[in-house]
């Protein structure tokens, strides 16, 4: 076991998967010599050469469209879109083709590609570098949408995403790239896509989140325990689509109370879907209305005010206490 940042863990996943399978090809802007602007692909070009790690022209639709062609051929392209804020320039390739070619071709072709891209706020970046738009992809049939929350699960989930026969949108919480280190085993480790994880057990309240919001959520859960004597159960979704409702429904059947936390805007956000599933599957067990702690329905402000926009432990605590109050 080595202590690694998420950047290092993702790099390890790519390196090991490329060693194992010569159909894995990396492509994107600055992924070669520069090793990616966040260094996730650092030095992979030295080991695998220009024929496995492609520095492409600056064109997101081209990168994704080329990946689709490679994937249809039978390769496993992993493309990097430098910031999720630029992925709207390739949105049509994902929506029109990556998500549909299996269906359109009646199963003759599949698109086993991964689109990796950093998302989310908290790093004092420029406009278009901080938003959280996972629902665009989660709403698109034919895609899978994965968001890890730490070095170890990022490594395991990326390997699973590369091996998945369907296109996977892999959002990397850039605020966590170097925020902390975790033990990451050298031996290969995978995690199932479409499966949430209970990261803290409890009986009083269910807290559901993912990605960069896991840290303030866990902080709030500890605080609830220390100050209020409340045992909150915390669930890390890990996959946004297909959403593992069973894990959080089972939890709410037990607790009767839930808070959903995400940094994406509130309306039509992942929380809306999570709450709907709870209405369908746990309504009679709910003691109080479900709380949502989210970004607001505005463009995330430029960085001097982004902290005000992003959910934090304090806001999560207030919502949790409200959910516990009756």
């Amino acid at each position: 076991m080595a202590k690694m940042t998420m950047v290092q863990a993702l790099n390890l996943a790519l390196r090991q998967e490329m060693e194992k399978d010569d159909s894995v090809i990396l492509l994107g802007e600055d992924v070669g010599l520069d090793g990616g602007v966040f260094r996730v692909t650092d030095s992979l070009i030295d080991q695998f050469g220009e024929n496995r790690v492609l520095d492409t022209p600056l064109a997101e639709s081209g990168i994704v469209g080329m990946s689709i062609g490679m994937a249809v051929y039978g390769l496993k392209p992993v493309c990097e879109i430098q910031f999720s804020g630029f992925s709207y320039q390739n949105f049509h390739q994902i929506e029109n083709h990556a998500a549909r070619l299996r269906w359109r071709s009646q199963g003759r072709f599949q698109v086993p590609m991964v689109m990796r891209t950093p998302y989310g706020g908290g790093v004092r970046a420029l406009e278009h570098h901080s938003e959280s738009r996972e629902v665009y992809w989660a709403h698109t049939p034919g895609l899978k949408m994965v968001i890890p929350s730490g070095p170890r699960n990022a490594r395991a989930l990326l390997i699973s995403a590369i091996r998945d026969p369907d296109p996977v949108i892999f959002y990397e919480p850039k605020a966590l790239y170097r925020a902390f280190r975790e033990d990451v085993p050298e031996d290969e480790e995978t995690m199932p896509i479409g499966k949430a994880q209970i990261v803290r057990e409890g009986k009083d309240l269910t807290m559901i989140s993912y990605g960069a919001m896991m840290r303030p959520t866990l902080e709030a859960a500890s605080e609830l325990n220390a100050k209020d004597g409340v045992e909150a159960e915390v669930i890390d979704l890990l996959t946004i689509s297909p959403l593992d409702d069973n894990t959080f429904v089972q939890s709410v059947l037990k607790t009767g109370r839930a808070v959903v936390i995400h940094e994406a805007p509130r309306s039509f956000g992942p929380g809306a879907e999570i709450v709907s599933r709870l209405m369908e599957k746990a309504f009679y067990y709910l003691e109080v209305p479900i709380e949502r702690v989210t970004g607001y329905d505005i463009i995330i402000p430029l960085f001097s005010r982004e902290k005000a926009y992003l959910p934090n432990a304090h806001r999560i605590l207030r919502a949790a206490r409200k959910a516990l109050s009756n």
Binding site: P57, V72, Q93, Q106, F109
Partner: protein, 386 residues
């Protein structure tokens, strides 16, 4: 040793470039290839000398494509199929090019290449099924390298680059040939596709069927460029403009491009100058935006009689043979229509819509499918399911 442009450059360096320049000449020189004239007379020096059996197969599929198009229009007008994009007038452009592909090459169509799809082995009944709103109409064989048609204009262009790159990476000599229209050249994906192809030197042939109209927008409003082929030079690849209604010219240009791609020489853009003789799709009325006179002029350049005359002159066709081919083709079309109508009787089950969404159906989708199945059963019982 030096070309004219290099001489000019050297002169300019010697003399110095006088700014501001008064008259600027835009470099839009492009080679234009035509082998058969409008009446089907051959320029003997340019005859690509296509083997007889290929010529006859091309002719048969050209007639099949044309007659099938007419039959589809007829079926559509009777309400027996849905909206479809007719190909009449463009058969030479897409047949003359696709004929150079091997089965293992990648065929990446837009949506107005039906004769090329038939050349690649697509059945007539599958076209009818698809145009009747059944996914089962896309029935690519498991080893077939034919991508299904792509509706969003130009978006398929870049896929050919990925396919070509992969073919090269796997050290095959397969190529990818992608089709699109004049309107597609305005799309960003045209630029990104050709730019990537140039950078990665992939074995891809870009075939533009310039039919002069993107629904109601004429070619002149699509781009200020004199030709579409000249755009190739900006991407560092060869471009050629051919008479797209002259199947020999299309074949000759495609042969050169495919050979170059196969032997590692990189991509080519071929602009086939052709004309859509009927409507964009059956939902369109071209009389709103173009004149009958223009259509009449292009009917004079129809690719079918020109090719037919060449084959007659060559002694490969006679009036008798022409009539024989036509009646055989009409029979084939009738058989296709009959087969499609027979198959559609068994395709009513809407449960099929849940197929092929994912490699493995996820639990919530499984729940939705079961819910739908229950509702369907109940509605069938009540007689409320139309």
């Amino acid at each position: 040793m030096f070309g004219a442009s290099q001489v000019l450059l050297i002169l300019r360096r010697l003399v110095g470039l006088k700014m501001p320049r008064k008259e600027i000449e835009i470099n839009d020189k492009i080679e234009y290839l035509s082998v058969l004239d409008e009446n089907g007379n051959l320029d003997k020096q340019l005859d690509p000398e296509i083997p007889d059996e290929i010529l006859l197969k091309l002719y048969r599929i050209m007639i099949l494509g044309r007659k099938f198009d007419e039959r589809l229009l007829n079926l559509q007008r009777q309400g027996r199929i849905g909206t479809f994009p007719p190909i009449s007038g463009q058969e030479a452009a897409h047949l003359g090019s696709v004929a150079l592909l091997r089965p293992s090459d990648w065929f990446v169509p837009a949506f107005r290449e039906t004769a090329a799809e038939i050349w690649r082995g697509r059945s007539l009944e599958s076209v009818i099924l698809y145009n009747n709103g059944f996914n089962e109409g896309v029935n690519i064989p498991q080893n077939g390298n034919d991508i299904p048609i792509s509706v969003p204009v130009g978006s398929q262009i870049i896929h050919a680059v990925g396919l070509g790159w992969a073919a090269k990476y796997r050290q095959t000599d397969n190529v990818a040939m992608v089709f699109f229209g004049d309107g597609a050249t305005s799309e960003g994906d045209f630029h990104e596709g050709l730019n990537f192809a140039g950078v990665f030197q992939v074995p891809v042939i870009f075939v533009c069927q310039n039919n002069h109209w993107a629904i109601s927008i004429p070619r002149s409003k699509q781009t200020r460029s004199k030709t579409l082929a000249q755009k190739a030079s900006a991407y560092g690849m060869p471009g050629i403009q051919v008479d797209g209604n002259d199947i020999l010219a299309v074949y000759a240009a495609a042969e050169e491009a495919v050979d170059r791609a196969r032997s590692g020489g990189g991509p080519t853009l071929i602009e086939c100058v052709t004309y859509r003789l009927t409507m964009h799709t059956t939902a369109d009325d071209p009389k709103r935006y173009r004149t009958d006179e223009e259509v009449e002029q292009w009917k004079q350049r129809d690719p079918v009689p020109r090719f037919q005359k060449y084959l007659v002159d060559k002694g490969l066709l006679s009036e008798e043979k022409i009539a024989g081919i036509e009646s055989a083709v009409l029979e084939e079309i009738q058989a296709g229509v009959d087969k499609a109508e027979e198959q559609m009787k068994t395709l009513g089950n809407p449960m099929h819509m849940f197929e092929h969404a994912y490699a493995e159906m996820h639990p919530y989708l499984q729940e939705q499918k079961e819910e739908f199945a229950r509702q369907l059963a109940e509605m069938n019982e009540e007689g409320t399911h139309g």
